[in-house]
Symmetry: C2
Subunit: 298 residues, 2 copies
């Protein structure tokens, strides 16, 4: 039995002294032509772009978050490239959180759990994002798979998109739906609790809503947070850490994801060669890692 | 511009005189050994099992529903097999509704839309299931892709699983969350409206909750329903049609999905050879098609 996912994650975050999570999002119109022709040679370009980013990301950040939908748009070769990059990221020492937002029930949920945080021939990622709309039935197969394999599950609670409130903010007896979701999830955090006191049942808590993040922390005191929306989506480092808690190591309690700002910085998009591209990515990741390091330091 | 998806679907359902939708669910422990060794030769077994089912299903039903999670558990070869079976099903004249339950926003939602109801190298299915938890942001990219390609989108509203009510039934100002979801979706049905008066913005309405299906029909009068839970999950043909409406052609308004009862009937599971297996599947599909035909006849 491997160490609990929560403990592995928090240990790596501490060793990097930054909660930065690098988002790996192969936007079809943004991957630089340096890597080849994405339209006609998707698999090789995706793997080259991804491994090049991971080589640099592993220096700066503890966690990698591939966005599966952006791989799937290239069909099964994109899907296969994503699986290879999950392996590559783990081999580089990163925690790999697969952003797949799966959600189903029973045997199908077991299928998705096996496909994402199981083992070969699936993804063997460290953690997967899950959508709670179908109820606790959805979560159990993922949590069971995570428990058995020392993995984690990150449940969408309050997302960072403009329309997040359409359904998540509907008021149920004086509290929003997302708060009820959090309350129902809270007892389940025990199942994936680590020796660190943090649980591998993570909550997705959008950085664009810092007040909600604080309320969510009250409802789920042990859940590690996955905070999207930092950087390009407009949230500051301080906002992004709103749901973290003060410890002897500084603010702690999850990871903060940045994608565009660290993987498509302007200097990388205009780079003339791989050396310039690498320097631009390295600089952008260093800035993001350091902003979050400073904001979370004691 | 191809004919609206809703019109294509309703036309095929009328020509078969049954709303039966055959679920294609490759459960790892149920695919008969006749098809080979699923553990060691997944891709070939999945394709052989799937094409054999489709050959028979195309005689009895208008619609095929592959459950993507059960393919993904076999990794990228499973994913590729699913894509091939979507093509095979369409070539056999069936409407293929990919049960993928995707849900994301912005560019990632566009990626999933392209991957499922776009075109090669993605799935090119006729319709995809989508989870609304992240709000209307989630739906727009799918609806846009559907509109552009003559495809459909089936949104989870009230699902059929035991825990469906955990979040869907939370009361918001006197009505459950799922009803609010339906009310917010209703105006969007206009975007995918067909000449038939039915919309390709479908609602998933569990057969195990006939009263909810009737209430959902009130909230979304033009949405075609995808009704899961018929057969193995215990709902009767009459229950399954609770959200349908009386027309000159009989009860109309969607499709009713059956998987285990028609793809793993006991006689098929004990078949000694392919001929026996085919006969068992043919008989089970004929029974289900006919039950729904009788229940929906004028």
């Amino acid at each position: 039995m491997s160490a609990a996912y929560a403990d592995r994650l928090i240990e790596k975050v501490r060793s990097k002294r930054t909660p930065l999570c690098v988002g790996l999002d192969p936007f079809a119109d943004k991957v630089p032509a340096l890597f080849g022709d994405l339209k006609n040679d998707a698999a090789s370009v995706l793997v080259k772009f991804g491994t090049s980013l991971i080589d640099i990301a592993a220096k700066h950040a503890a966690v990698l978050k591939p966005q599966l939908g952006l791989f799937e748009q290239f069909g099964e070769l994109g899907y296969a490239a994503a699986r290879m990059l999950v392996e590559y990221g783990r081999a580089a020492g990163m925690i790999v959180l697969l952003d797949a937002k799966r959600g189903d029930i029973g045997t199908t949920a077991e299928g998705y759990a096996r496909a994402t945080i199981g083992a070969r021939p699936g993804f063997d990622a460290d953690c997967v994002t899950v959508n709670p709309y179908m109820g606790k039935d959805t979560l159990a197969p993922f949590v069971d798979m995570a428990k058995a394999n020392g993995k984690g599950v990150a449940v969408l609670v309050r997302t960072s998109n403009p329309g997040a409130g359409d359904f998540q903010d509907l008021q149920v007896g004086g509290a929003p739906v997302w708060r009820r979701v959090a309350e129902m999830l809270a007892p389940e955090t025990q199942t994936l609790m680590g020796a660190s006191g943090w649980s591998g049942l993570m909550a997705v808590a959008g950085a664009t809503y810092p007040e909600e993040a604080r309320a969510l922390r009250e409802a789920m005191p042990h859940a590690l947070f996955l905070v999207p929306g930092y950087g390009a989506q407009g949230a500051s480092a301080k906002d992004a850490l709103a749901g973290f808690v003060a410890t002897a190591q500084g603010l702690e309690g999850g990871v903060v994801s940045s994608s565009r700002a660290v993987t498509y910085p302007p200097a990388a998009q205009t780079a003339k060669n791989m050396s310039e591209w690498r320097a631009a990515i390295d600089a952008a990741m260093a800035v993001a890692a350091d902003e979050l390091r400073t904001a979370s330091a004691r």
